[in-house]
């Protein structure tokens, strides 16, 4: 069949006057990037109840981490020899551990550690991964080919094993933990950013920029990177949860955050011996880890439903 279109009814006399064919653009339509964001956020709040709950939990965690010193009366490292293994009460909301340390204070300060590790890791991985993956995907060529192979290779080493290896080499410290986790999670950002950029690169708006004579660099910065936003922010949220798990796991086996800095994973590890008689020692850090990871996963899920339902990460 010949696919000739029949769109125009009477092509020789179209209406001679150009009229604005669309008047239904509502008057209250947003007119800036900010109000556009507000509109999108409002829609998110309306449609993603679970995601909003998760966001509330995340904000609560952030507040807890920022104001750890204000909301907890006790020093998290202080060992009250008189108050060892006390159950939850008015003075110690979550009780004390085997050394007489305030579990509530340790949970609050632990949030600071968890969020710092997760936050810095995700931030660095996002920035580095997006830039490297984005430019590599746009320019292609030999560099891209090699990078793709390296990313595949690094991603086939189990996250925890690679992180263990790096931390074992460098010695346990918050900085090394962040470094190790960043090395481990960045490749997935590179992969996602690259894949998206390949899609963007073949779009008409990029071809239009080429036709305007925009340089490749300008095209990546102005058109490519802003359009990577949706998948990357979703990946970032999910990765944040994974980073908290990894931090807790490494701290659990004594290779994460070194004492006296409180860490949820180490608290679980400490609690193992005492768990039968003093279950609160396990309960609170275990809940802190699970709830915060759950919050980031739920939020990431809701973001995906909101921004890009077809995305598979």
């Amino acid at each position: 069949m010949v696919d000739v279109n029949q769109h125009l009814g009477s092509p020789t006399n179209p209406p001679s006057e150009v009229v604005d064919e669309d008047t239904d653009v509502s008057a209250d339509a947003s007119d800036s990037a900010f109000s556009r964001f507000v509109g999108s956020a409002r829609h998110f709040a309306k449609t993603q109840k679970l995601g909003m709950a998760a966001l509330a939990v995340i904000l609560l965690l952030v507040l807890m981490a920022v104001f750890a010193g204000v909301i907890s009366a006790n020093d998290p490292a202080l060992q009250n020899r008189g108050d060892v293994k006390v159950g939850p009460n008015g003075a110690y909301w979550f009780g004390t551990d085997h050394l007489g340390r305030d579990i509530f204070a340790r949970i609050a300060y632990g949030a600071r550690v968890s969020l710092t590790v997760g936050g810095v890791t995700v931030l660095v991985a996002t920035v580095v991964g997006t830039l490297v993956g984005g430019f590599s995907g746009y320019y292609g060529g030999r560099f891209d080919l090699v990078l793709q192979r390296i990313v595949d290779a690094v991603m086939s080493i189990p996250v925890l094993v690679l992180a263990l290896f790096i931390v074992a080499l460098l010695g346990p410290s918050i900085r090394n933990l962040i470094l190790a986790l960043t090395i481990v999670v960045t490749p997935s950002f590179v992969r996602v950013a690259r894949g998206e950029m390949l899609r963007i690169r073949s779009s008409d708006y990029v071809r239009a920029a080429d036709a305007l004579g925009a340089s490749p660099f300008r095209t990546v910065v102005r058109h490519g990177l802003p359009n990577l936003f949706a998948p990357i922010i979703i990946l970032a949220s999910l990765t944040f949860g994974n980073a908290i798990v990894a931090e807790a796991s490494l701290s659990f086996i004594g290779l994460g955050v070194p004492p006296p800095e409180p860490s949820w994973g180490r608290m679980v590890s400490d609690a193992r011996e005492w768990i039968r008689l003093y279950p609160w020692m396990l309960l609170f850090p275990a809940a802190a880890i699970s709830v915060s990871v759950l919050a980031f996963n739920l939020f990431g899920d809701a973001l995906r439903d909101h921004l890009d339902p077809k995305l598979v990460l």
Binding site: A153, F165, A248, A286, L294, N297
Partner: protein
């Protein structure tokens, strides 16, 4: 088909080579070489240290060391353990079967439950049972497996007076004891993989259920159960398989902690110990072996597509 296998194996080998290179340079880029520190802390005499370093070729130029290491790998020679008086290869070969058993048991468990849960969830879309299964699977995905392990060990003995038999027995020595020792860590590992599988099955099955050909089958009057299982379920398995392949890496990482926690003499607990004793050649080789397992499993996943989808088999 054979061509496909050969192609995948070749690119797998390339990936392994890159992993090996990556691990080598990560190790050598550490400030104040890790092995120097290790040797300095070992209490050996100055002369002995130089000797050991010479034996290990650590005084050669870095590219030469790399070439030595890489050619060693090709011959499956990963050097000797810094701590044990044994070659790394022997240790790995001795320990690997336990890890293989554990991880395949975990995969089997997650495949036994995940897809079915996901299918039920999809069939009952929007009903309370769907909501429960969905929340359940994202919770399962969010609880770190070391936590599941701790909880299982504690509360099984607390509430049921059950404790895992002590002293590892291999499967052919005593299958019953072996399974008891394996099943708990396997469940802990299977939980997150199974949850991820359930989620993927649900969304992929919903997509298949919405397609025209399922509507055709329904219009022809096929009964719902047949539609759900024979047509939709089978066709929604491809993305699920891909996911299982990718999740396998996380599962291998989990074995490190869980083997140590449940005193299973696998590669994972060996890595755990090696990290404590800073036995770098061993960790390095183990990471390579894990990478190889991951790549192999993903090749198997690719081949399994052909079994599920005849179109892929044909091409």
């Amino acid at each position: 088909m054979t061509q496909l296998i050969v192609k995948r194996l070749l690119s797998g080998l390339l990936a392994l080579f890159l992993i090996a290179t990556f691990l080598f340079f990560v190790m050598r880029s550490v400030p104040g070489d890790a092995i120097d520190i290790q040797l300095a802390e070992s209490g050996l005499s100055e002369e002995r240290i130089t000797e050991v370093k010479d034996e290990m070729g650590l005084n050669d130029p870095i590219l030469e060391q790399y070439a030595d290491w890489a050619s060693g790998i090709v011959r499956l020679d990963f050097g000797d353990s810094l701590v044990r008086d044994e070659s790394v290869l022997d240790i790995i070969l001795r320990r690997l079967p336990v890890t293989l058993e554990l991880s395949f048991l975990a995969i089997a468990l997650s495949l036994a439950f995940g897809p079915i849960v996901g299918m039920l969830s999809a069939i009952r879309r929007g009903k309370p049972s769907d909501a429960i299964l969905r929340v359940g699977s994202i919770v399962g995905l969010s609880i770190p497996n070391f936590l599941v392990g701790v909880l299982m060990i504690t509360y099984l003995s607390e509430w049921f007076g059950y404790s895992v038999p002590i002293g590892y027995q291999e499967f052919w020595e005593s299958p019953w004891v072996n399974l008891q020792q394996m099943i708990l860590p396997a469940i802990a590992l299977a939980l997150s993989v199974g949850a991820a599988t359930a989620r993927m099955t649900r969304s992929s099955m919903l997509e298949v259920l919405g397609t025209d050909y399922i509507r055709t089958v329904r219009a022809k009057g096929a009964d719902e159960r047949m539609i759900n299982t024979r047509h939709a379920f089978k066709n929604s398995l491809i993305p699920v398989l891909t996911l299982v392949g990718l999740q396998f890496g996380g599962l291998l990482g989990g074995t490190v902690i869980l083997e140590a926690m449940f005193s299973l003499p696998g590669l994972g607990s060996q890595v755990f110990e090696a990290v404590r004793t800073r036995d770098y050649p061993l960790i390095q080789a183990a990471a390579l072996v894990y990478g190889a397992m991951f790549i192999l499993v993903n090749i198997m996943v690719d081949l399994a597509y052909g079994w599920i989808d005849p179109r892929i088999r044909a091409s």
